[in-house]
């Protein structure tokens, strides 16, 4: 940002020097305002179907997840064209983790660990609940795998979390799950 301002100031000085014979130059030809950077999540659009981030933000059961996505800088990525399948643990699912786990992961020095965990909940391709097959192995964005099992018509992931609801979004599908998926320990 600072760099931009300096650049414009320079331009202005340059222009005044070059055109000091012209009486019509006014301050209104000054540098255009510098643009704040934002990812696709900053696009103003109240008409289109909601993307995964907007759906999650609108859910009162996912405030922990949304806060974690923000902390892990994943909001911009999940506002992208996708298509994504996102397994979205509820607040209650996060609460099931040992006390202090979430607070610990939210610390700046733990950002990589948080990213690793959250990316373990995302895969590329929009997969409907009915398209999962028992024994299917999903390659997740963090590089590790999640194994699907189907029991009594319910879809379970790593035998530790169950899909309790599925919500279509413009850039993929959110499957709400009742547990947090923990990636395998690093070798």
């Amino acid at each position: 940002m600072k760099k931009h301002k300096i650049f414009f100031a320079f331009l202005l000085i340059g222009s005044m020097a070059a055109c000091n014979d012209s009486s019509t130059k006014t301050a209104e030809t000054a540098a255009p305002e510098v643009v704040a950077n934002g990812g696709q999540e900053a696009v103003k659009d109240d008409e289109s179907a909601k993307d995964i981030v907007k759906v999650a933000i609108g859910s009162k059961d996912h405030t922990t997840l949304v806060a974690a996505l923000k902390q892990a800088d994943l909001v911009t990525s999940l506002s992208n064209a996708g298509p994504f399948t996102v397994f979205a643990p509820t607040n209650a699912a996060f609460d099931k983790l040992p006390a202090g786990t979430v607070e610990g992961l939210m610390k700046p020095e733990k950002k990589e660990d948080l990213q690793n965990i959250l990316q373990y909940h995302v895969t590329l391709a929009a997969m409907k609940a009915e398209s999962f097959i028992d024994g299917q192995v999903l390659g997740m964005v963090n590089g590790d795998n999640v194994t699907v099992s189907i029991k009594d018509g319910k879809v379970m992931l790593n035998n530790s979390a169950t899909i309790v609801a599925s919500i279509p979004a413009s850039n993929g599908i959110i499957h709400v799950i009742d547990g947090v998926l923990l990636p395998p320990a690093k070798k």
Binding site: F8, L11, L12, G14, S15, M16, A17, A18, C19, S22, S23, T24, K25, T29, A31, P32, E33, V34, V35, N37, V43, D45, E47, S48, A49, D51, N80, A81, G82, P83, L124, A125, A126, S131, I133, G135, Q136, V137, L138, G139, N145, S170, N171, G172
Partner: protein, 664 residues
């Protein structure tokens, strides 16, 4: 032959001498000053101040630029097929290019006019002319999609078009080439121009609720060439003014034979009176044939209707309707200032710019200050209509627009400059070179009641040495000037598509916020729509196979299709079921002799494919729609004629039996 050559050479020498002695631009040295970059700079992520609509000339399309950045925002296909998005190739859009001559894939698009209310640009539509096979199009500015194309009978070379009246009551289209009327025997010797040819002006009504155009009536005028035109406004409301050349009525070597007379004409038409006469039942019904093509935004489908009748009034039968005003030397531009009082004729071979006064024209008509008649039409005395002349403006005046401070700006083709002059006292105030040979120029709102005074764009025909050379053909250019001060200042030079002629511009706020983001799928009433994957299907009807296909990130449904046979015609009706801004999908299949489809969210379009061999034929989404766009594909199986492979289709289930668990 020799004589002509010598003449041309003589003229060129003369022009050069003039150019160097009297018309040398004064401020060549300051053509580009230091702050030009900051004046045209629009920071990444920031919007431009103006939408600038630029005719595409021989490209047949319209381009849209942002000002002041000169960034190309879009090319809207109108009169030429556009394989890039299927315009003229998809089954739904083919009817848009239908004419009484059948399907025509190209035209020459010269002029644009934005719709107005009370003489001010309202941002509803922009109208475009087709020069070659006479047509007028209307582009919807909520979708930036061509909504309608109307063919014009009794016309040839629809150049003096499409200029609108103050409230967009009519779009006016004057023929460049006079020809024998469509219902007469046109099989006549060409040199019977004077006896058999007529010049026709069409008045196209515009339905204010939906924009639909129809030919309200036509005026049959003496055979001349109509070049450009503009509506009166304010004090001259209800009148229309046309520049006319070839009043010599030459039918060969117009280069020489249409430049003989000292003066041609501006034709003044009392269109309010014409409309009243039509209402009173005047005029004769004439049998003609022309196409009216409309695009329906709900079915996403065009319909072409051939119409067979038009009402024509011969202007010499209705005294008081039309007058000629002498205007020097083959006038091109015919421009009316913001108050409507002054009409500027730009005679491209003239050494001055005449400015006519509407008030004086009315007084001359009342006093019958006529110098005679031309083909039965009164010709007003030049001095009786003239307000005054701009002396020594430059060489080759072509086109004039106006700013908000009472100034006029005229392009000079021969001396390659824009000349600024005061409408009040007709004094030249400034001149600035262009690079090179400008045709039209444009000020946002510059032909409306409410012009702006910040920018001017000149559209140049010749760009030798202005851009990196690209072989024999060079891009034509737009040159942006800051006109907010006393001196015009060049601030940007950028290439354009096709050949820009007339252009328009309007403040972004008039259009920006009503831009459509996607089409609502529930409103889609295309007969072949599939509103969701469960309704996707393949249906055989005789030798026609209809594929009702959906597209969403990142798969097509169905994506495995079997049972197509040689001899079938296959129609892929692809519905983009996304409801998200800026997410089109594409569709193409190997060997299809057509353009791709580019399907907007919520839209259905159809690609026709006639397989020419048995085998497995892949199809895919051509748009980089998502991270998995390379996966967005499928296969069609084509069997020999007479095969008994049944129609079947699926997505995701046609798995090899031994491998039901996909590894990832």
């Amino acid at each position: 032959m020799n004589l002509i050559k010598n003449n041309a050479l003589g003229l060129a020498t003369l022009a050069l001498m003039f150019g160097f002695s009297s018309c040398k631009p004064k401020n060549v040295g300051s053509a580009v000053s230091g702050d030009a970059a900051s004046k045209s700079y629009v920071a990444p992520g920031k919007y431009d101040e103006y939408y600038n609509f630029v005719s595409g000339g021989f490209s047949g399309q319209m381009s849209v630029y942002g000002l002041p950045s000169g960034r190309l925002l879009k090319v809207v296909p109108i009169f030429s097929v556009n394989p890039e998005n299927g315009w003229g190739y998809s089954e739904e859009t083919k009817p848009m290019l239908n004419t009484s001559h059948g399907f025509i894939p190209w035209d020459d698009q010269h002029h644009l006019d934005l719709s107005q209310t009370n003489g001010e640009i309202d941002g509803r539509w922009i109208f475009a002319n087709a020069n070659n096979t006479p047509r007028v199009a209307r582009v919807d500015l909520a979708t930036f999609h061509t909504a309608e194309i109307l063919e014009l009978p009794n016309s040839a070379g629809n150049h003096s078009s499409p200029f609108i009246t103050e409230n967009t009551e009519y779009v006016i289209a004057g023929t460049r080439f006079s020809v024998p009327p469509d219902d007469s025997n046109g099989d006549v010797p060409i040199n019977t121009y004077k006896q058999n040819f007529k010049g026709t002006i069409s008045f196209i009504s515009v339905d204010q609720t939906n924009g639909n155009m129809d030919i309200a009536f036509q005026l049959q005028c003496p055979a001349v060439n109509f070049d450009l035109s503009h509506a009166g406004k304010g004090v001259s409301s209800g009148w229309f003014f046309f520049s006319c050349y070839n009043t010599e009525q030459a039918n060969t070597l117009l280069e020489v034979n249409a430049s003989k007379r000292d003066k041609d004409f501006i034709m003044a038409v009392n269109w309010k009176q014409a409309a009243e006469l039509i209402k009173a039942g005047k005029g004769r019904k004439q049998a003609v044939k022309y196409a009216s093509n409309r695009y329906n935004e709900k079915t996403h489908t065009a319909t072409s209707t051939i119409k067979t009748e038009v009402t024509v009034m011969d202007v010499k039968d209705f005294p008081g309707l039309v007058y000629f005003i002498p205007c020097p030397k083959s006038p091109h531009g015919c421009d009316v200032n913001p108050t409507g009082e002054y009409i500027v004729g730009s005679g491209k071979l003239a050494a001055l710019i005449p400015v006519f006064s509407f008030d004086k024209i009315q007084k001359a008509i009342a006093a019958k200050a006529f110098e005679g008649e031309y083909e039965g039409i009164p010709v007003i005395k030049y001095d009786a209509a003239l307000y005054g002349e701009v002396k020594k403006p430059g060489l080759g005046p072509l086109h004039t627009e106006f700013d908000d401070k009472g100034n006029a700006y005229t392009t000079m083709f021969v001396s390659s400059e824009v000349v600024k002059w005061s409408v009040k006292d007709l004094k030249v105030l400034d001149r600035v070179p262009t690079y090179y040979s400008p045709g039209h120029l444009m000020i946002p709102g510059g032909d409306s009641k409410k012009p702006t005074g910040k920018y001017l764009v000149a559209y140049n025909k010749i760009t030798k040495d202005r851009f990196l050379p690209t072989g024999p053909e060079l891009a034509q250019s737009a040159q942006l000037f800051d006109i907010s001060g006393d001196k015009m200042q060049l601030i940007l030079d950028y290439p354009t598509i096709g050949e820009p002629h007339y252009a328009q511009a309007v403040a972004a706020s008039i259009i920006r916020d009503k831009s459509v983001k996607f089409f609502k799928i529930e409103d889609n009433s295309n007969p072949y729509v599939s509103k969701g994957e469960p309704t996707a299907k393949v249906v055989r009807e005789g030798n026609k196979v209809h594929v009702y296909m959906t597209a969403i990130r990142s798969h097509l449904t169905p994506d495995n299709i079997e049972g197509i046979k040689l001899g079938d015609e296959v129609y892929f009706h692809v519905t983009n079921i996304e409801q998200d801004w800026d997410v089109p999908h594409g569709f193409a299949i190997k060997g299809a002799a057509t353009g791709e489809l580019l399907i907007m969210p919520g839209e259905t379009t159809t690609l026709k494919w006639v397989p020419d061999r048995a085998g497995i034929i892949p199809f895919y989404c051509t748009d980089f729609c998502s991270a998995l766009h390379q996966e967005m594909s499928g296969y069609a199986r084509v069997s020999p004629a007479g095969s008994n492979v049944p129609i079947s289709f699926s997505t995701g289930t046609n798995q090899p039996k031994s491998d039901s668990i996909p590894a990832k």
